[in-house]
Symmetry: C2
Subunit: 254 residues, 2 copies
């Protein structure tokens, strides 16, 4: 608990890895230090189907302190496996599941209703995959080996779907699919520098997530830029040294 409002990062392994060396999670946590907690709610291998019951538990029900100021929702990498494999979630249901998360937050009759003023939402598209590298990883990193269950074109379809849901529902989208594909020169060969196993991002790849999140916050909600959020506990220079206690009361966003 410990009384800071938060940014929640909700997603699959690409989010779970956010606090590993080079992940974007600690870049955000450091940017918002003294101000907001950045909470890692990434769960490796999860799809939106399995994420929904978890969402009900990680999002508090209304009017609870401390408050979530931003939810970053990043799924699709596993939903996009081809039909017949365990993780597959049909495209329409994937879109519906994302829509359900948005409605849980935005429908005033929802137990999890959070006002747009208090809680911002970002959707993120799954990055492109490099099929050869993924096939190698699945075949060698697991005992027993996994069969190849992903296609570049499928992941792209799910990325498009995230963008469509964002557009329909008025939620900004961090387009990691396009950012990484463009940075890769739109070539399969170029992907390896951002996706060492063909699926998960390294520091160079995560840097795009960090930069896009920061930029999108700045454009849409400048009050949430880390420079504009006040420290919860004031800078030491501002403590009234003669009578410290009043200046040591927590500052909160309205």
């Amino acid at each position: 608990m410990a009384s800071f409002d938060s940014i929640v990062l909700f997603g699959d392994s690409i989010t779970e890895g956010a606090f590993a060396a080079g992940g974007f999670g600690f870049l955000l946590a450091d940017a918002y230090r003294r101000k907001l907690d950045v909470l890692n709610r990434g769960m490796g291998g999860y799809t939106t189907d399995w994420a929904l019951p978890v969402f009900e538990q990680v999002i508090p029900k209304k009017d609870v302190q401390p408050k979530i100021r931003l939810v970053v929702i990043w799924f699709g990498a596993n939903d996009a496996v081809v039909p017949g494999f365990t993780h597959h979630v049909p495209l329409e249901r994937f879109k519906t599941n994302l829509g359900t998360m948005l409605s849980m937050l935005r429908d005033p009759s929802s137990d999890w209703y959070h006002t747009p003023e208090q809680t911002k939402i970002l959707l993120v598209t799954p990055p492109p995959i490099e099929e050869k590298a993924v096939a190698h990883w699945l075949a060698t990193a697991f005992e027993p080996p996994f069969s190849m269950d992903r296609k570049f074109a499928n992941t792209k379809m799910y990325a498009d779907a995230v963008r469509a849901v964002g557009a329909e529902r008025g939620v900004p989208v961090i387009d990691m699919w396009s950012a990484i594909w463009d940075a890769a020169g739109q070539t399969t060969e170029g992907l390896g520098q951002f996706l060492p196993d063909g699926l998960h991002l390294n520091a160079a790849g995560y840097k795009y997530a960090y930069d896009l999140i920061v930029e999108t916050i700045a454009t849409n909600w400048p009050e949430l830029k880390h420079e504009n959020v006040k420290e919860v506990f004031t800078l030491w220079e501002n403590i009234d040294k003669e009578n410290p206690r009043p200046s040591l009361q927590a500052n909160r966003l309205p």
Copy 2:
């Protein structure tokens, strides 16, 4: 909020910097991902005097979900400035202040009482300082420049005091003063590789904090080792694919 129990890192700038690249905060956060949040409650320039009113606000009052499983208390670097300078806290009051934090947590009549079973405590000694580098940093990094206000021998006295409080109160101490001094070959020249500005740790220095914390947890409270804490939301392999919802209920430490 978002419903994970937590590890709270409470201290001055050496803790505030814990999530910068190379900090120990994200090493801990990654080790405990899926299991516990690691919350940065470091405040640059703070002494134990100013930390006490903050402690009252960051530690919840009893029986509140989610629970704090470990509090890491790391002060002294600023308390140890020489008398006459703003940050100075006399040695006896420094010890009393630390004792007050411990009593807030451990005295059954305290509003902030947390049982030893539920909430572990670690004290950490301030690292040694390299006086020449600190003098240079204070004179050049600030406008107007700060006067030199620290002594190697004073910081050592406050490190000794932290160890004494830990011994008196039965709280394990992470001895960063000794760890860094020994790693520096017990020479002033050797300190620079861990303390680039003479006061704050770099990644090489923070690694000692991470390793000592992990080791101390393993020795004293093996149930809190990250390997032994269950994921709050189960590994995807353990989801009952036919009937997912029951397997997606949060797992909590007792």
